[in-house]
Amino acid sequence: MKNLLFGAAQIAGLAVVVALVAFGFRGDSGVEQATLWLILGLFAVSVSLLWGHAGLLSFGQAAFFGLGAFCYVWATTDTLFDAPIGWNPGIFGLLVSVLLPAAVALAIGYFLFYGKVVGAYFTIVTLALSFLLSSLGEAWTSVFGGYTGIANVPPLTVNLGFTTISAEGTWAGFAAITVVLAIIIALLRALLSTPFGLTVDGVCDNEPRLQHLGMSVVKVKLVTFVISAGIAGLAGALFAAQSDYVASDMMGTVLSTEAIIWVAVGGRKSLFGAVLGAVLVRGVGYVLSGIALDYWTLFLAALLLVLVLAGRTGVVGMARWLTNKMRAGGGGRAAGTPAGEGADGAA
């Protein structure tokens, strides 16, 4: 329990720091951007769960993010989904944006994992799926808004009878998102500290060995895939609500692979690191503009290349590895590879 509260506090602390820095740069609109970065951080968390913890590399995670965003729009503008009477449309929208991507992930995952489509093949299929979903979105204008997307997305408001909580204003939105982020991360850490979390580590480390111990590894992968899709969907919905805009390229490979870079930079196995990576990369990109921005993208790609070749696990991993080295004086337990750092519980 203490662990969970600490995790929540960590994230809240990061969020506040980021917001203040952004405010320092660009005032209110800076804070609004920072809020979006935090939401993307939530998306990065879903990637960290799937890739960093379970070892499943997907180039299509943004498909769930984008789907979630569209679900929110469809639900709150009553285009595809009608909110049941008495339900708050915003909350309903969030619910749909979690459940629909999760259901899609269940179907795809069932098909792929039970069909033993694993490893590189799995990654390629996710690449193709993501690419095609975004192409489909561009073409199917009536539903997905085509190339230009859909604007005027209703913001999130909750009517509690005696008061109305709205995520509309700059700081209100920031606070709401920070709370959501902290809660989700706390819940995830709780999940990963159960024995189930250990099986996820096992699947990543040595899947055949786990299978011969009697564990249904397909189920483990499927559960992880579905949960990460749901979180990605939630992030998408929040993004739509806060940025007032959705478009098909939110489902595409560009965002998917950006998230991989965030997680690689921040630390694959660390949920906090995932948020940190997203905020750092997006934050720097915000401050740059024009040609510098294009060079920034180039730099990020090169950084990913270096990280992959070196096999290191990003900022948080390096930090932990360094402190281990200093503490143990170069020897002792768990001073093996940095990859071992995630072993003692999540984040």
Partner: protein, 251 residues
């Protein structure tokens, strides 16, 4: 009869890794498997645990035909394996390795929802096994950093954690020095009686110390069966290991 194979065989391309294999293993038995390299011993194990699919024949475990069952399903029926090439969770600690053995056969959903409550029971069980295999001092070490022999014991420990009726050990003494080998023999003796054990080994002294009955394999087929002394004297076995022509020299 805990384990039976009938006509078991597997073919790759033009070669039979195993053919016409009939085996009967009683409950509680310790059964050894010997034979030259490439005679099909590991292949037999892989067919039993479900890593390979048989071309002919069947495996019956505890009265149940294993055809079509995945490795995890077979493990849940009560069998566990220690592989020839040591196979542990190299990035996790010794304790975590054993815990995975303990929770391995459990259903995934129970681990999510009721898992935390049962954590203490899991830890206790893992500690017990840790003592049995004698790795208490290494409990928080990363498994990949263990010595070769220690990794072997860890794997045996993981196999025990599953609480199997049938334990398959593929060369448990491989790469071990004299002391470690003796420890392994002792470990297996301690396990005797509570479960059925199949052991593949090259070390003849090891096999004699451990096995009650022995099956000799040669070129994918069953050569002979019997006690250690019976098998040792069998001319066919001598031929198989030393090649033809030996008989002429001794005669």
């Amino acid at each position: 009869m805990l384990l039976e194979t009938r006509d078991l065989g597997v073919r790759w391309g033009g070669i039979w890794g195993l053919h016409d294999f009939d085996l009967d293993v009683e409950e509680g038995e310790i059964h050894g498997f010997i034979g030259p390299n490439g005679s099909g011993k590991s292949t037999l194990f892989n067919l039993i645990i479900g890593r390979y699919k048989p071309t002919t024949g069947r495996v019956v475990f505890d009265g149940r035909d294993l055809a079509g069952l995945d490795p995890d399903q077979r493990a849940r029926l009560g069998m566990a394996v220690k592989f020839q090439i040591t196979n542990v969770f190299a990035g996790l600690t010794v304790m975590q390795n054993l815990l995975l053995g303990v929770i391995g056969p459990k259903p995934v959903t129970s681990l999510i929802f009721r898992g935390s409550k049962q954590k203490r029971a899991h830890y206790e069980r893992a500690e017990q096994i840790l003592e049995t295999i004698g790795l208490q001092e290494k409990r928080d070490d990363v498994a990949g950093n263990l010595a070769h022999g220690e990794k072997g014991w860890l794997e045996i420990g993981m196999a025990l954690a599953v609480e199997p009726k049938l334990l398959l050990l593929d060369e448990p003494a491989a790469g071990m020095g004299k002391e470690e080998t003796a420890r392994t023999v002792e470990l297996i003796h301690r396990l005797k009686g509570s479960r059925t054990i199949l052991v593949i080994e090259h070390d003849m002294e090891f096999v004699r110390a451990v096995a009650e009955r022995i099956t000799v394999l040669f070129k994918g087929g069953l050569l002979t069966q019997g006690t250690y002394d019976e098998v040792k004297m069998d001319e066919r076995v001598i031929d198989a290991y030393l090649g033809r022509g030996r008989r002429d020299v001794t005669a």
